[in-house]
Symmetry: C2
DNA sequence: GATTAGATAGACCGATTGATCTACTTGTCA
DNA sequence: TGACAAGTAGATCAATCGGTCTATCTAATC
């Protein structure tokens, strides 16, 4: 028995996830519809419009889960778990087709402050912040929240810088700084 | 005597610099022409097209000079000069109308790898890298190039993260890490 | 004063944008 | 069988995209 083809809604999300990452959020609706092999009407039925589709793509992209998985694979030690994220970043940024962070990209590209995507970007980054804060707390870090902010700056810095200067291997550079964040005793 | 109005070329660059920052590189040519109060033909005469205009905007934006000025105002000590950049970043990211790093934005928004803007983005970031390398060398840092890469990750991280989470004050968080970069003795 | 390069104004081009619409087909459940 | 919801196909819409065109005007140079 062949696996059932996903419904129009899922196909739209998949196509939009792929195309908005490779081409940016300014891809045409036509291109998304064509790749999803879906009727025009289905898009507006399910998501109300392009903006809704983009927001839903960000809401369901679950890059957070990827970091969580990497951490879990690194074992119990909070220190190792955090550093594993930066090892993963080295893989991500050197992989073919790397095009930066989709959340940062969307936040920068969408000029209208009212665009629903901004809410999802904020939610995502807050989520990663919580992820780091948990580890730092378990580590007994003196100021987990502030340290998590530092780690977030490093992550965003890696993903942004690697687009322009991948040969600088920003993930490795950031990993060395992450060690300082983890070992801070003040 | 009133100051002479700049020529069409300068007015185009000014308008494009303003609009591409506020609205992104996908602003329409019409909007740029209107704000510059310049004939359509002048754009294609001077820059060959929109792509050429955008590239020239990046080439002449001279954000590098801003960092240089800030450093010079901070005195002679390389340590103080580098940290002054992060103090400046705190001002930049909290100023009204802050919309992230125009170079990173352009690099992410322009999907075509052949777009002339990418060359200018790379040139700019290499320039900042050289700026930092100089200071680190004068400071006697054991590996100025690698440390400059770390500072660049911090700068890009601040400018990217501040777009989504300005309340985290990433510039301050990054400044604390910059101290570690400067004081590295290994 | 005549020539000429540079700027302006604006029509015009085909292509594409996001979105709405009607008409038809499909599958499901009552 | 009949009703209904969901999906498809595609025409159509006004608006905008980047770019080319002709025609006119202006200012400096010879």
């Amino acid at each position: 028995m062949s696996s059932t083809r996903p419904g129009p809604r899922e196909r739209l999300l998949d196509a939009a996830r792929d195309l908005t990452y490779r081409q940016g959020v300014h891809v045409g609706v036509d291109a998304i519809l064509k790749q999803a092999d879906v009727a025009r009407r289905s898009l507006y039925q399910h998501f109300g419009g392009k903006d809704g589709l983009i927001a839903e793509v960000l809401r369901t992209s679950a890059q957070e889960d990827r970091y969580r998985t990497v951490m879990d694979a690194a074992g119990e030690d909070p220190r190792a778990r955090v550093l594993a994220v930066f090892d993963e970043l080295e893989r991500i940024t050197t992989a073919p087709g790397f095009r930066g962070c989709r959340y940062t990209s969307a936040d920068l590209a969408l000029t209208d402050p009212q665009h629903p995507a901004h809410t999802e970007v904020r939610r995502y980054k807050d989520g990663v912040h919580a992820l780091f804060t948990d580890e730092l707390t378990r580590l007994g870090h003196p100021s987990p929240e502030a340290a998590a902010d530092q780690l977030l700056v490093l992550v965003d810095g890696v993903l942004a810088h690697a687009v322009t200067r991948p040969d600088a291997h920003p993930a490795r550079a950031a990993r060395r700084l992450a060690v300082h964040v983890l070992d801070a005793r003040d």
